[in-house]
């Protein structure tokens, strides 16, 4: 009679959860990086500067992207928010 096989490393589900938490932690970092891009622009009122509508669309575009990503992550993370303890560092 074969003994029940133990998973090789960790249970995939909890491993996936932890990586998703990592993603949730990294999302604001990504946001900060993208919102720093305007620092590289040439002012709109100088020649060759970023166009008004272009600047506006960029910021709102990044913002919308972050909201969508946060929405997806929160839906998954909410399921295990009841679990109290963080993983040990």
């Amino acid at each position: 009679m074969a003994r029940p096989r133990r998973p090789l490393f960790l249970r995939p589900a909890s491993y996936r959860q932890r990586r998703l938490r990592d993603a949730a932690r990294l999302l604001p970092v990504l946001g900060i990086a993208l919102f720093l891009v305007p620092l590289l622009w040439t002012p709109s009122d100088e020649s060759g500067g970023v166009s008004n509508s272009g600047a506006l669309l960029f910021v709102f575009g990044v913002w919308t992207g972050l909201i969508v990503a946060a929405h997806v992550l929160s839906r998954i993370l909410r399921l295990d928010a009841g679990e109290d303890r963080d993983e040990p560092p």
């Binding site: 999302l27 002012p43 600047a55 972050l66 909201i67």
Partner: protein, 895 residues
């Protein structure tokens, strides 16, 4: 539609009345326990929208018209904080729940050893920072009224609008925000009203935006073309301000008292944060979406020199859309009012808990304190609400309306941001000390006041020469160029130096000083809030009299809450009744419960007055040490196990004691009963033999026969009682199901017990008593009669008084009978419900007891048959009995 001033006032008043109705209805629903949906993630997210004040509603357009994209920094900062909830917000919310935090001042003071000083400093900074902010809201309301009036004849003076708005808001806030001292410090009515206002302002701004883009701008493509052609450059190359303001708004989002209140204190589920993490950024994105189109189209169409802060309102007015203008007005009005309401509640809580309560505690002795703490705190809150609004009004009058809305808001942001280093350091760094936090806060606040707040009054406080050359000619102290570094933007200059010096002082002093034990303990609890196996203890041993603590708790959190808390704890410890042992764990829980009402520092001081001995022992400090964590967890498990065994043992011991006592009582009962029966028997026998003798006068014979009859009566009554008791005990009793009101039963009982003619004053509550009940009313009346006649017989006060209090809790009806006599001494409370338990040796000088001592025993049997109970209620100032029974008869008891 022609708008007149009267219509405007009528609409505002109608809107405010609607808010009152919403808040009132939500409060009622929550109290009736049907408020589940009031606590949904949606309502939570909407309540966060008080971040968007009148500044957002009107000021953002003005900001965009002046500085292009920069207005977005105010929303990007908070969006990033909320999107990164897993980093910080989750921890804050958890800490606040575990520690029963009531405000940001409470959080910081609690972290640094429940220090009252730190709490007071944070409170003062918050008051100084938020006052301009409240002034800003008043200013925006008065500006919008002025904008409407401009087009009307008469040219009325609208200064009084701000004053009346402030008065109306004070009224609303006092009504719904300070009605009671809720241990959880949550306000359903207010949160609901804020959520409604959130929808109104979003709808209004989107309405104006849609009108501008599709009505005036020529669709999306047309509007984008106009934006490209407009004279305002969107990106003006101010990289420093872009980064600095984003960071500043992120900091203010966490430290503004009103944001902390809705974000952390009113939160009751971690999972709401997950929803808010995307829904709140979405909300602010929608709020800022149409700002640039409105600014661009406004600059194009409105006459030169119009105030861009009012474009949202001026565009619909100039295009002749009165309805839309009214909607925009309401949107701005709700932005301003919701912010002011929540901000004043948050500030009032802080002022009463961290300034009034500690002062009160320090000037009063412990006995006096407990007497009216609750009333004092409520009063303090109401006065603080009025004072905060008055301050805002004064600031508004002082600065005049010349300043742009956005610059006032940023002054406030920079002020409250001074709390950030202490807060962040406190929850992430165990080494942070109270002295460090105090140094950082004071230095930061001083620099902020010198470089930003005081100069905002123009030259009224800081004269021009000081601005130019520095005080006493010290050039390096110039408010606009500290340390001689010139050429910085004034706001960035102030933010940079104040936060830098604040954080540096905080870190440096923390490193150089030692925390006291309580600080270390709290530090460990805050930093490792997710790893707690159980709450650490701050009270090691105690000489506390539990009954004193009960009296204290009743005065702070309220009568019923305190009794419930003590009863639950007693049950946990395996004891019956309302008085648990004063274990360190219990004292800790009690302190937290009190902290929910009066803040951590005051609660600690209050409990400290009743507990002797040092607050912390070496063993407790061991718990702080990281290295011991593993051993600790293991021993905690052992401890839990042994605590459970101890509980079981205690319950067993109690049961055993009771059994032994019962056996002894059985014997006593037999001898007692023979004695009780023999006494009347003896007199009957002797008087009947006298009656048989010759030579008695008829009068004598009648008298002796009378005595014989009376004794026989007494015997019959005793036998009746005994029979009653034994029948009740066997459970062979048929209950009659009757309907009636409690008032009828009490009336009947008072009449039968003769309480109406005696000198016993009965205090009743007719409103509460009009309660329909279905049970065996005759049996219930029997219990009441017993309790009333006991009070008549035994209450030894000069003016005996009996208070009958009725309340309903779920399906249970609770009736308390409380007299003002000397009560029953603790050791005898255990036995009063046993047969023949007339208390010996007490109340000398009162009427000798005439009953057989079966009354309460019968009461207890009856109540258990009715599916209820009767218990002695300690800590009420006299003898007090609590009768509990189901409002509808229990099916099992009625056969």
């Amino acid at each position: 539609m022609i708008l007149t001033f009267n219509i405007l006032v009528a609409v505002s008043l109608g809107y405010v009345a609607m808010l009152f109705a919403v808040a009132f209805a939500a409060d009622r629903r929550a109290r009736a326990g049907r408020g589940g949906w009031l606590r949904s993630p949606l309502i939570y997210t909407l309540s966060l929208s008080i971040y968007c004040t009148a500044w957002t509603f009107y000021g953002a357009v003005g900001y965009a018209a002046r500085s292009g994209l920069e207005y977005l920094t105010i929303y990007l900062g908070p969006s990033l904080v909320v999107i990164g909830w897993w980093w910080l917000l989750r921890k804050l919310v958890r800490i606040a729940r575990v520690q029963r935090i009531t405000s940001i001042a409470d959080l910081v003071s609690s972290r640094f050893g429940k220090s009252p000083w730190i709490g007071a400093v944070v409170t003062l900074i918050a008051v100084a920072g938020v006052t301009p902010y409240i002034a800003l809201q008043l200013q925006s309301i008065s500006l919008t009224f002025a904008a409407f009036i401009e087009g009307m004849d008469g040219g009325m003076d609208v200064d009084f609008v701000a004053l009346w708005t402030a008065i109306g808001l004070a009224l609303f806030t006092t009504l719904f925000g300070t009605r009671n001292l809720d241990p959880s410090e949550r306000h359903h009515g207010i949160v609901m009203a804020v959520a409604v206002e959130a929808v109104v302002k979003l709808f209004a701004l989107l309405g104006v935006g849609v009108f501008v883009v599709w009505g005036l701008g020529g669709g999306i493509a047309g509007t984008l073309a106009r934006i490209d052609a407009s004279p305002i450059p969107m990106w003006q190359g101010e990289g420093g301000r872009w980064v600095g303001l984003t960071a500043l708004s992120a900091a203010a989002f966490l430290t503004l008292p009103r944001m902390f209140h809705v974000l952390v204190v009113e939160n009751d589920d971690d999972r709401h944060l997950a929803v808010a993490s995307w829904a709140f950024p979405l909300y602010v994105l929608l709020m800022s979406l149409f700002v640039v189109p409105i600014a661009v189209v406004g600059l194009e169409r409105l006459p030169e020199g119009s105030n861009p802060d009012l474009f949202v309102l001026a565009l619909p007015i100039s295009e002749g859309h009165g309805g839309l203008a009214l909607l925009a007005f309401l949107g701005g009005f709700s932005s301003a009012t919701s912010m002011v309401i929540v901000a004043t509640i948050a500030l009032a809580t802080m002022v009463s808990n961290h300034i009034v309560a500690p002062l009160w505690l320090s000037v009063r002795g412990p006995d006096e304190v407990a007497r009216d703490l609750r009333g004092t705190i409520l009063l303090a809150r109401r006065v603080s609400v009025a004072a905060v609004l008055a301050l805002g009004y004064v600031y508004f009058q002082y600065t005049g309306s010349g300043v742009a809305l956005s610059s006032i808001g940023l002054i406030a942001f920079a002020g409250v941001a001074q709390i950030l280093p202490a807060m962040l350091g406190g929850i992430t760094w165990r080494g942070a000390t109270a002295k460090g936090a105090g140094a950082g806060l004071l230095l930061g606040a001083a620099v902020w006041a010198w470089t930003l707040f005081l100069p905002s009054f123009g030259t009224a406080i800081i004269p021009q020469p000081v601005l130019d050359q520095g005080p006493w000619g010290l050039a390096w102290l110039r408010p606009r160029a500290l340390f001689g570094i010139e050429g910085l933007d004034p706001l960035l200059h102030a933010v940079l130096w104040s936060l830098l010096l604040n954080a540096a002082a905080f870190g440096l002093v923390s490193i150089l000083t030692f925390p006291n034990p309580l600080e270390r303990l709290q530090g460990a609890q805050f930093v490792n809030v997710f790893d707690q196996t159980g709450p650490a203890r701050t009270w090691s041993r105690s000489g506390a009299e539990v009954e004193d603590l009960l009296v204290l708790a009743q005065r702070v959190v309220g009568h019923e809450t305190a009794l419930d808390l003590f009863q639950a704890e007693a049950e946990e410890q395996g004891k019956s009744g309302h008085l648990p042992d004063a274990t360190p764990g219990f004292l800790q829980r009690l302190e937290r419960e009190l902290a929910g009402s009066v803040g951590a520092a005051a609660a600690h001081a209050l409990v400290g007055q009743f507990v002797q001995g040092p607050g912390l022992s070496v063993g407790d400090l061991m718990a702080v040490a990281d290295e011991a964590a593993q051993i600790l967890e293991y021993s905690a498990r052992l401890e839990a196990k042994s605590a459970e065994q101890e509980r079981t043992a205690r319950a067993l011991r109690e049961a055993n004691d009771k059994l032994t006592q019962l056996a002894r009582q059985k014997d006593a009962f037999l001898s007692r009963i023979s004695h009780e029966l023999r006494t009347p028997m003896t007199s009957i026998r002797s008087f009947s033999s006298i009656l048989q003798e010759e030579g008695l006068t008829p009068a004598e014979a009648r008298r002796f026969a009378g005595i014989v009859e009376a004794e026989a009566h007494r015997m019959t009554r005793l036998l009746d009682d005994l029979l009653d008791l034994s029948v009740l005990r066997d459970g062979q009793v048929t209950l009659e199901r009757q309907e009636g009101t409690l008032a009828e039963v009490i009336d009947r009982s008072l009449l039968s017990a003769g309480a109406l003619k005696g000198d016993l004053a009965v205090l009743r509550d007719p409103a509460a008593e009009a309660l329909p009940v279905v049970t065996d009313l005759d049996r219930l009346a029997q219990v009441f009669i017993n309790l009333v006649s006991n009070a008549r017989k035994y209450c030894d006060a000069d003016r005996p008084e009996l208070r009958i209090a009725v309340q309903r809790r779920g399906p249970q009806v609770i009736v308390d009978f409380v007299d003002n006599g000397s009560g029953i001494p603790a050791p005898e409370r255990e036995v009063i419900f046993e047969s023949f338990a007339r208390l010996s040796g007490r109340r000398a000088g009162t009427v000798a007891p005439s009953g057989a001592g079966l009354g309460l025993a019968i009461c207890r049997e009856i109540m258990s048959l009715l599916g209820g109970s009767i218990t002695y209620l300690p800590g009420q100032g006299g003898a007090a009995f609590r009768v509990t029974f189901p409002q509808g008869v229990a099916a099992a008891a009625a056969e």
